[in-house]
């Protein structure tokens, strides 16, 4: 907090010091949940406490956190975005298709448009923005419930990926440059993608807490009609958020396609739900007006601890879904419990 420590002469008898905000409170309690789970995992799983393991926890989840940023902002305004997973697959596949060499093979899946890499990713991002624009149009202009609209575009974008790859994948006749961006590592073998994610998270936290744009995001979620009557351009604001969310998903898709040097139609299947789960674990309210990106990051770490410790305990992978579900319930009940006990 940047509050001055004393009220000063201008603030008279009114204190600026309440208890900490509910958002910080939830973020801190989720931090507590994380530490608790981490401790349990350290006891149950050999070598879980190792530094490298902790770094892996975060880095393996970088794409869910990327998606979670846009989803958090939208959920704070009271809107869902379930299209992000589909957009990842679609942009990944398109970036491959656009820059595969043209007419080089008998196999259809080996032929692309032969565009330069830069043009290919730019066009793939335009496609992502188009999906975001469809979301925004239906939600803000036609006032359709966002969950319905984005479930629709989730299918459409995933469907485009399916068509372009004929339900499989494209991974041949790619230029060398294609595999670079997703596989560059910086300081002690951390992927560039993780650095990009961290930069976006920091930017998001600053925007959310320090800017007028961030404040308006909360206003819309807290009371849409009051925001409108207070001069907030609600439609425009939500449109920007859907476009941004789609763009972040698009960037994620391009990075993943580059990392695996392939465009796969079922890339990160279900990640839209993981993104929503970490946002909710991070304390963002479905009712809107409440939440934070910092919370979302902690939500991601909690989910990572649970899944990786399950793997470490040699729990069979098919059980992981149940485990994820159970942890989600527990964490959300813990939040409710903590908030209800909290008196302001």
């Amino acid at each position: 907090m940047l509050n001055p420590t004393g009220p000063g002469e201008s603030t008279g008898r009114v204190s600026t010091r309440g208890k900490m905000s509910n958002e910080s409170f939830i973020t801190l309690s989720m931090m507590g949940v994380f530490l608790g789970l981490f401790a349990i995992a350290c006891i149950l799983v050999p070598n879980f406490y190792r530094g490298q393991n902790i770094v892996n926890l975060v880095t393996n989840y970088w794409f869910v956190i990327m998606l979670g940023i846009g989803v958090t902002f939208l959920l704070i305004t009271g809107n869902f975005d379930m299209s992000v997973g589909g957009i990842v697959a679609m942009t990944g596949v398109l970036s491959v298709y656009f820059c595969q060499a043209a007419n080089v093979s008998q196999s259809e899946l080996a032929n692309g448009l032969g565009l330069p890499y830069g043009v290919a990713i730019a066009l793939a991002l335009v496609a992502a923005l188009l999906i975001g624009a469809i979301n925004a149009f239906f939600v803000t202009k036609l006032k359709v419930a966002s969950i319905i609209v984005t479930l629709g575009t989730m299918s459409i974008s995933r469907g485009i990926a399916q068509i372009v790859t004929q339900g499989a994948q494209r991974n041949t006749s790619l230029p060398d440059i294609f595999s670079k961006i997703g596989n560059i590592t910086v300081v002690s073998s951390i992927k560039l993608a993780v650095i990009i994610m961290v930069v976006f998270v920091i930017a998001a936290v600053v925007i959310e807490k320090r800017t007028v744009f961030g404040r308006r995001t909360y206003l819309i979620g807290a009371n849409k009609e009051a925001s409108r009557l207070s001069g907030v351009k609600v439609g425009q604001h939500v449109t920007i958020l859907y476009l941004t969310s789609a763009l972040l998903a698009g960037i994620t898709g391009i990075l993943l396609a580059s990392e695996y040097i392939s465009g796969t139609s079922n890339r990160v299947m279900g990640s839209e739900f993981d993104a929503l789960v970490i946002v909710l674990l991070g304390g963002t309210s479905i009712a809107g007006g409440f939440g934070s990106v910092a919370g979302t990051v902690i939500g991601a770490i909690i989910l990572a601890v649970v899944t990786s410790s399950a793997t470490g305990m040699l729990l069979r992978p098919e059980w992981q879904f149940i485990l994820k579900g159970a942890v989600t319930f527990l964490a959300i009940m813990a939040q409710r419990f903590a908030l209800d006990r909290r008196k302001l």
Binding site: V14, L219, L229, V232, L344
Partner: protein, 498 residues
């Protein structure tokens, strides 16, 4: 003698924080009569009715229904005990048929399946006797508001209600439908039903009522047979009492410059409204519920679409709220919790929202400025809180309204539109808000006040317009010759006597 009374109210009191809404009210309602309840907004009628229907619990006092102690815990409980209510928001399900609506909530079933029973037959025969033109198999969504009301009345009669409370039943129906409704109300007397009738339209009271009870400022003023009430003006006198509007001091307008001009504004609720507002002027709009006040306030602010022309500072306004705010207009909306306040956010986050530019630079919020602004307003408007980090939802109604005021004041507007600025807040906070309004006008701001409380309008406005049914009926300059009876006469639909 006592058995004559179906309902006997004794020393009924209802306290809300800071205000006694029903103050030691006692009166009786005779069986099989139409008993009218009148009073200005805030007189305590609604609170009294809400106690009878179980929406509120009384603070003290007794109510006897047919001689037995009566306490309702909710509307369903009230209904079972014999008190049905015809609310303004009708309690019918559009997607079901008339027949299904009649038995809704009291269906007879056999292992979960609906049974056709005598109950349904009885319901339908009651409906038939009231209004033969309604087909029980019809979907309710295809009925007019008036016919939906009749379905509700039939349900109440068939379940053997002793009392049906009708809250402004004629507000949303046409002239000939009103006639039909009145015929039905008259026929209810023979069906052993007592009607408590609430309406702002005084002519209806004389047409349909047997008795009338007048309330004012939470107190019972009088109950007497309609035949003993001479005319409207006697009723109006009882309603407003000896209110003397002494706090208004006539002022000479120093500035003759017209700030806002409204020409032929029409919406589906408003009809061809034209007026102007000068700089520094306080202009009031008085009218009863449904007269079109909120619609007019929202049209000027650009919150709802309209046809017509609105000019502000000589420039045409094209309505959206963000443009209106930029031009220098701010609105304190009618519903503070749903339209004015961000209840889940803190006071500090609420106050600056209409003018974020002033506390930010290049899109970044300057926290120090935000804190100073909030603290200044909390001090200036005396918002009762120990910290600006308190959630707005945790404040009392009056303090919430002050936060909404602070929000609008911070917008630095030249024209403030106040829609029911003191609704639901206590007397102390009210007078503080009046002081703020007077102070603002001294600073050269223009103010439009939309209110259904006459004293509020007469106390502070330089000029006032009376609205009835979406039309400006007349314009009055405030001063010594103000005739509040005449104003109420016009606002309740009476003809203008010149």
């Amino acid at each position: 003698m006592m058995s004559d009374y179906v309902l006997d109210i004794k020393n009924l009191i209802k306290d809300f924080p800071g205000v006694r809404a029903v103050n030691d009210v006692s009166f009786g309602i005779k069986r099989n009569t139409v008993h009218c309840l009148v009073g200005e907004n805030g007189a305590g009628k609604s609170t009294l009715i809400k106690i009878l229907t179980g929406a509120y619990m009384r603070t003290s006092g007794t109510v006897l229904l047919s001689g037995k102690e009566y306490v309702a815990h909710n509307t369903k409980d009230a209904k079972q005990k014999g008190v049905s209510t015809l609310f303004q928001e009708l309690n019918v399900v559009d997607q079901l048929t008339v027949e299904e609506n009649l038995t809704l909530g009291s269906e007879d079933t056999f292992m979960g399946f609906l049974k056709k029973t005598d109950k349904i037959k009885k319901m339908i025969s009651v409906l038939n006797s009231l209004e033969p033109s309604i087909n029980p198999k019809q979907l309710v969504s295809r009925l007019s508001v008036a016919k939906k009301q009749i379905v509700e009345i039939a349900r109440a009669v068939a379940t053997e209600s002793d009392i049906i409370i009708m809250d402004e039943p004629t507000a949303a129906i046409s002239e000939c439908e009103i006639e039909r409704l009145f015929e039905i109300i008259r026929s209810l007397r023979e069906k052993n039903v007592t009607v408590i009738y609430i309406s702002h339209r005084l002519d209806e009271i004389f047409e349909i009522g047997d008795y009338v009870t007048v309330m004012r400022d939470g107190k019972h003023i009088d109950t007497k047979p309609i035949s003993e009430v001479k005319d409207r003006s006697e009723l109006i006198k009882m309603m407003i009492g000896k209110t003397i509007f002494e706090s208004y001091v006539p002022r000479e307008m120093q500035d003759e410059q017209v700030l806002l001009e409204v020409k032929n504004v029409t919406t589906d609720k408003l009809n061809n409204i034209s007026f102007f507002v000068k700089r520094g002027e306080i202009v009031g709009f008085y009218g009863l519920v449904g007269a079109g006040k909120t619609e007019l306030a929202r049209a000027v602010f650009g919150a709802d679409p309209y046809s017509g022309e609105i000019t502000f500072k000589g420039k045409r306004l094209y309505g959206t709220p963000d443009k209106a705010i930029k031009a220098g207009i701010a609105l304190v909306p009618e519903e503070r919790r749903s339209q004015g306040l961000f209840t889940v956010l803190t006071i500090r986050n609420n106050i600056p929202v209409m003018n974020m530019k002033k506390i930010s630079k290049g899109g970044f919020i300057n926290s120090a400025k935000e804190i100073k602004v909030s603290a200044d307003f909390i001090n200036k408007l005396r918002i009762a809180t120990n910290t600006m980090e308190k959630q707005a939802s945790k404040l009392s109604g009056g303090n919430q309204q002050k936060v909404v005021f602070a929000k609008c004041l911070f917008a630095d507007a030249d024209l403030l539109i106040l829609d029911e600025p003191t609704r639901g807040i206590d007397v102390g906070a009210k007078s503080e808000i009046y002081n703020i309004i007077r102070q603002l006008s001294k600073e050269g701001k223009s103010i439009m006040i939309f209110s259904s409380e006459l004293p509020e309008i007469v106390n502070i406005c330089d000029r006032m317009f009376i609205l009835y049914d979406g039309v400006v009926k007349t314009e009055i300059k405030n001063g010594s010759s103000i005739d509040s009876e005449e104003i109420i006469h016009i606002a309740t639909g009476g003809e203008i006597i010149c």
